[in-house]
Symmetry: C2
Subunit: 107 residues, 2 copies
DNA sequence: TTAATATGCAACTATATGGTTGCAAATATA
DNA sequence: TATATTTGCAACCATATAGTTGCATATTAA
């Protein structure tokens, strides 16, 4: 399949998935799927698909209990995104650097 | 269209685009499209499409000079991703918190 | 036992995505 | 001027994505 970081980035690249993930994080409690999907306009099945994507990225975990499936957030995979970002940190402040590069073009 | 942060996340969610962006960052010099595409296996047009996506996200800027178009990286939009991540920072360390949540399920 | 609830699976649709190729136009070079 | 180079545009293709609906199944509650 895909790279781990690619899975995580694709997972959080969708606004609805970011909302679902956020809801689970701030809830700080495991929630069954129906309860989660009740907070969104899209169908339960739509939410379920997003949950699977989040699960594949490791951003949530699901645990069955009776007929219900409890989902809870796990922010740990975001560490890797943070690490990826860290390399570029030194570049996003010096806009002057970019400007310099721009001015460095052959004329 | 889309949210700014969504555009940025979608842009970096593709491995080829991350490579292109990285190449431009470390080059720390503006490069014409043909020169960039020479570093990748996919066609020039394929690269051009990725460059447009990166440009829409603000991760590169393009400047025409004669028949050439010079591209250079701009890491600034990554700040917003960093800011989004920052909120979750406090959650990704305490795996115990997640475990607690897990154990908090009704029985 | 019967009814309600929570879920998964499958099929389907529309659109986005990552890639290709062919061709035309603009610019630079011989 | 004739030729080579850099690029954009457009059409096309295969697959992925975000969403839907219908139905079957398992579990819980009346």
């Amino acid at each position: 399949m895909q790279d781990k970081i690619t899975r995580v980035l694709k997972a959080i690249a969708d606004p609805t998935r970011r909302e679902i993930f956020h809801a689970l994080v701030v809830a700080s409690a495991a929630m069954p799927i129906t309860q989660i999907s009740g907070q969104f306009q899209i169908s339960r099945q739509g939410v379920t698909k997003h949950l699977r994507t989040l699960e594949d990225a490791g951003l949530i975990h699901i645990n069955s209990k009776g007929r219900e499936r409890y989902c809870f957030a796990d922010a740990e995979p975001l560490k890797e995104v943070n690490h990826w970002l860290k390399f570029y940190e030194r570049f996003w402040d010096d806009s002057l650097n970019n400007l310099g590069t721009y001015l460095d073009q052959p004329s």
